[in-house]
């Protein structure tokens, strides 16, 4: 298979052997589990239990309210003692609501409401996706994006390839390596289930070539699975005795191809991996699904398989506990909610003089201030280091524009320029320079001779831009409301005046009876006409609101530029409206929040303002 190379990247010391030498250890049930209500990208879940409730293992205890969210399940049986703030592994170092479970050591499975589906090949994609959602599965590579969402590509985007991301390119982390070594069949089955769900014809299973053992086990497991499939095909063919059965071909599983890829950080980045495998680039504003590809982590696939084949929710995961700061680096399988400190104990405890505890790898992980935080679904690795292992004095020198960061940037950005623009808060230019194409892999910061925490600057830039985007949305909404209110008030006054004028006219012409009958005929007719077609009038008003909104969005300096323009616009509109006599019927439209109707507010992207702004313009 022809492999490709992405720009930049780094050859890093792998530090994988430390934790792969020891076998996987399954941790017991801790006395107390702290299960955060939010362990995924998206809105937090709502607790389904009360303090004092008894919970069984696998019982759903946190309900996802949003589409982009994942349910939370009880990792073991016991009693809920509290739902309270507890430190969680988060870069902010803040606490968050957790369901605290006092376990009863019985580890008793309850009814999960998810029957085992050994016949998954006969299940519909929708049902399988629902199962994945019910099982609370998120991406286990670290990002923790709800998997059911990722398995639901937009219509009109058929998926032909499932890429299994077994690259695990970051130093020290080996949880996927161990998983592939210990459960190769489960991972492959998971890949088949997901490929079936997506309708993908092929599975490309990519593994960095520094994991020969995992590759070997997978190759063996794949051969076994294929032999089994052939056996069952044979049996079926024999059973149908001569008459050609179409059934086996109908249910043929996607072909799985194992691909060893060169070890090079960050080859496990979704876009980088797709480029390595196919030579194609995922469009900046798009998703892999635009190329007919979806990527999943092996751990996620095994979780899907457990949910489908055994009806088990995601309540445990493999975590690498490693680094020079622990005495016996190893991988452990821990229940979600197990305190980090328990994992450290399983890894032989701390070495002398440790000063840093990182969740995730050394390049993208974040330091945690307290080892009381629990394992969450996205916890792939605990890295413990001593001062000499990071040797970053903290002294930051000015950028000398040496360009090393440009050389290693896998997105082919100019990190040194992004840094200047972030520092000077030049948020328009920084987007022009592709800030939102930054995948925060940390290569630039690693090679920076001035020791500048570059990724921090980019995160700051992104956050500020998101915040401003939200502010602008709010301001837009407020402006639209204000304009509607003004319009309504003007109209009401005008109507009042008209009514008065009409009354006067009526009074004046009261004497000649015949004339009085014909004259008011015109307004009356227009009134009935409007009443006959109120929906059209509402649509009319919405249309106008949308046009105005678009005009505002198109204007760069919203405050200065659009004020007078939109004002005059609304004035001419009201004028026209009163002429047709349809104005009273716009009332419902005016009363409803305009932004929700015109859709602009909800469409305005939060993630990629730069990318979508032009679309918004063209839409108007």
């Amino acid at each position: 298979m022809q492999l490709h190379r992405f720009h930049g990247g780094l050859k890093l010391p792998s530090h994988k052997a430390e934790s792969t030498e020891r076998p996987l250890r399954v941790l017991g049930v801790p006395q107390t589990l702290y299960v955060p209500l939010s362990q995924h990208i998206g809105e937090p879940t709502e607790p389904l239990v009360q303090p004092g409730d008894r919970v069984e293992k696998g019982q759903r205890i946190g309900q996802a309210k949003d589409y982009i969210a994942a349910h939370v399940h009880a990792p073991s049986s016991g009693r809920v003692v509290a739902i309270a703030e507890h430190p969680i592994p988060h870069p902010s170092g803040l606490s968050a609501p957790c369901i605290v479970i006092e376990t009863d050591a019985q580890d008793h499975w309850g009814d999960t409401g998810m029957p085992a589906w050994p016949d998954w090949r006969d299940r519909e994609a929708r049902a399988l996706r629902e199962r994945v959602r019910d099982a609370g599965i998120v991406g286990l590579g670290g990002a923790a994006f709800p998997t059911a969402v990722k398995l639901n590509p937009r219509p009109g985007k058929p998926i032909h390839t499932l890429v299994v991301n077994g690259a695990e390119c970051e130093p020290y982390i080996t949880c996927d390596d161990l998983l592939m070594q210990t459960h190769p069949e489960a991972v492959l089955e998971g890949a088949r289930i997901v490929a079936h769900l997506l309708g993908a014809e092929q599975v490309l299973f990519a593994i960095e070539d520094n994991k020969p053992e995992a590759l070997r086990r997978l190759t063996e497991a794949l051969a076994r699975l294929e032999a089994e499939a052939q056996g069952s095909d044979q049996a079926q063919a024999n059973a149908s005795a001569g008459t050609r059965s179409e059934a086996p071909s109908q249910h043929r599983d996607a072909s799985i191809q194992l691909v060893a890829i060169p070890s090079r950080y960050p080859t496990g980045g979704e876009r980088q991996l797709i480029h390595v495998l196919t030579g194609r680039e995922v469009p900046s504003a798009g998703l892999p699904a635009d190329l007919g590809i979806i990527c999943h982590n092996p751990g996620t696939l095994k979780a899907v398989r457990d949910a489908v084949l055994h009806g088990r929710p995601l309540i445990s995961r493999i975590v690498t506990v490693t680094g020079p700061g622990v005495r016996e680096p190893r991988n452990v399988e821990a229940l979600i909610g197990t305190p980090f400190a328990d994992l450290i104990v399983a890894a032989g405890g701390y070495a002398e003089g440790v000063d840093r505890l990182v969740m995730g790898g050394p390049m993208m992980g974040f330091a945690i201030h307290d080892d009381a935080v629990p394992v969450i679904k996205g916890s792939n690795c605990l890295l413990v280091t001593r001062p000499q292992d990071t040797a970053r004095s903290g002294a930051v020198l000015p950028c000398i524009r040496c360009g090393e960061c440009t050389r290693v940037c896998p997105a082919n950005l100019l990190p040194q320029q992004l840094y200047w623009f972030a520092k000077s808060k030049n948020f328009d230019t920084i987007q022009d320079y592709g800030l939102f194409d930054c995948i925060e892999c940390g290569c630039c910061a690693q090679v920076c001779p001035s020791n500048i925490p570059l990724v921090q600057y980019y995160r700051f830039g992104k956050q500020e831009i998101w915040n401003r985007e939200k502010e602008r949305e709010k301001a837009d909404l407020a402006r639209v409301r204000f304009e509607f209110r003004q319009e309504r008030q003007e109209r009401e006054e005008r109507e009042k005046a008209e009514r008065l004028a009409r009354k006067k006219a009526m009074l004046a012409k009261k004497e000649p009876g015949s004339a009085a009958e014909t004259e008011p005929g015109a307004p009356a007719a227009s009134g009935t006409g409007a009443a006959a077609d109120p929906k059209a009038a509402i649509a009319d008003a919405i249309e106008r609101a949308r046009a105005r909104k678009a005009a505002q969005a198109a204007d760069a300096d919203a405050d200065a530029g659009t004020g007078p323009e939109s004002e005059s616009g609304s004035r001419t509109e009201t004028g026209a409206g009163s002429d047709t006599g349809a104005r009273p019927e716009t009332r419902p439209g005016a009363g409803a929040p305009p932004a929700s109707d015109n859709g602009a507010a909800s469409d305005t992207p939060v993630r990629r303002p730069a990318a979508v702004a032009p679309a918004e313009k063209s839409g108007g």
């Binding site: 701390y350 330091a367 000015p398 997105a411 194409d437 090679v447």
Partner: protein, 347 residues
């Protein structure tokens, strides 16, 4: 247990500014020793004085700006600037020439613009140009190579000359200095000789003067080592030398009698030193890959233009300073295509 929460990456860093600058210094050593060998102790005297003055000015300015002096000196950038300035100033020049150059390089060109990382112009070259226009006579007296003069200055005599501005008794400037090949070529061409006639002069080796060739070779060696160590990228040196050789070659092919060969231009004067050590100063150079190629090509072109038609025999400093001016513009127009974007820069 509680821990520090520093930001990623959580690995030992690959480089530091100090390490980068130190490697530049190591790479300068062979060429500097060759120059000392050929042109006398005066070269080393210049280096010592220029580095000393530069570091002192750096310390003074950092102190005045209220920054930590020790930590700043550790980046070695002042040492590099001083050293490069020293190589550009003729050996045996009086110390105040070096002092003035160092003052302008460090105080004006570097710290008045914000210090390391903020200077738009190459500090060493600003210092050099200031002394070039301020001390035209001292800057034109380049010692003849040791092989040519009868009684070269001793180590102490070199110091004495530099510190007093007076030659030891009994020595005349005319006796110990000589026009450099670039001077010679320029003056002889002006006086109507052809390149071939000039090259008959005994001082010429295969391309240019023997001594300059070897100095160039050893700076080239240092430069290649910097490339190998990835301290500098190939873009600028390759572009400088290629564009200089190309344009020189073009004119040489058209009229070899009146235009010197590309090899002469590449190996004369400060072309190689400039290509690998001066033009590559990252702070004042362009920073995008394509921008660096254009930046280097511009320097090569300007070196040739100024040498051939300008008022100075060598032109590296002017070429670098002129291109420093356009570096930000080059960066603006040469942004690489971002991954996942189409050519025209849109997603």
């Amino acid at each position: 247990m509680r821990f520090e929460t520093r930001t990623s990456p959580h690995l030992v860093p690959d480089h530091s500014v100090g390490a980068v600058m130190r490697q530049v210094l190591y790479a300068l050593v062979p060429g500097t020793l060759a120059m000392t060998w050929f042109f006398g102790w005066g070269v080393l005297v210049n280096v010592v004085l220029a580095v000393l003055f530069s570091v002192l000015f750096e310390a003074l300015m950092v102190h005045l700006r209220g920054r930590p002096v020790g930590a700043t000196l550790e980046d070695y950038s002042a040492v590099v600037a001083g050293w490069l300035l020293a190589l550009a100033i003729p050996p045996l020049a009086p110390f105040w020439v070096v002092l003035t150059g160092a003052a302008f390089a460090i105080v004006v060109a570097k710290h008045l613009y914000g210090g390391l990382g903020y200077n738009p112009f190459n500090p060493a070259m600003v210092g050099y140009v200031v002394v070039l226009v301020s001390f035209p006579r001292a800057m034109s007296l380049w010692p003849a190579p040791y092989g040519i003069i009868d009684a070269p200055l001793t180590f102490l005599q070199s110091w004495q000359t530099a510190l007093t501005g007076q030659l030891p008794a009994g020595l005349q400037w005319d006796a110990i200095t000589r026009a450099s090949p670039l001077d010679l070529m320029r003056e002889s061409l002006v006086s109507g000789q052809t390149v071939e006639e000039i090259r008959q002069s005994p001082v010429f080796g295969s391309f240019t003067e023997h001594e300059w060739e070897w100095t160039g070779n050893l700076f080239l060696l240092g430069g290649l080592w910097l490339l190998y160590r990835r301290v500098i990228s190939w873009h600028i040196p390759v572009a400088v030398l290629l564009s200089l050789a190309t344009i020189a070659g073009l004119f040489w092919i058209i009229d070899p009698d009146h235009f010197a060969s590309p090899a002469f231009h590449v190996f004369s004067g400060a072309a190689i030193l400039g290509a690998f050590f001066i033009a590559t100063d990252p702070v004042s150079a362009a920073t995008t890959p394509m921008g660096r190629i254009l930046y280097g090509a511009g320097i090569g072109l300007l070196i040739y233009v100024i040498r051939t038609w300008g008022g100075y025999p060598d032109a590296v400093a002017f070429a670098v300073l002129l291109m420093n001016m356009v570096a930000p513009t080059l960066d603006h127009y040469t942004r690489p295509r971002i991954f996942g974007h189409s050519r025209d820069g849109h997603g």
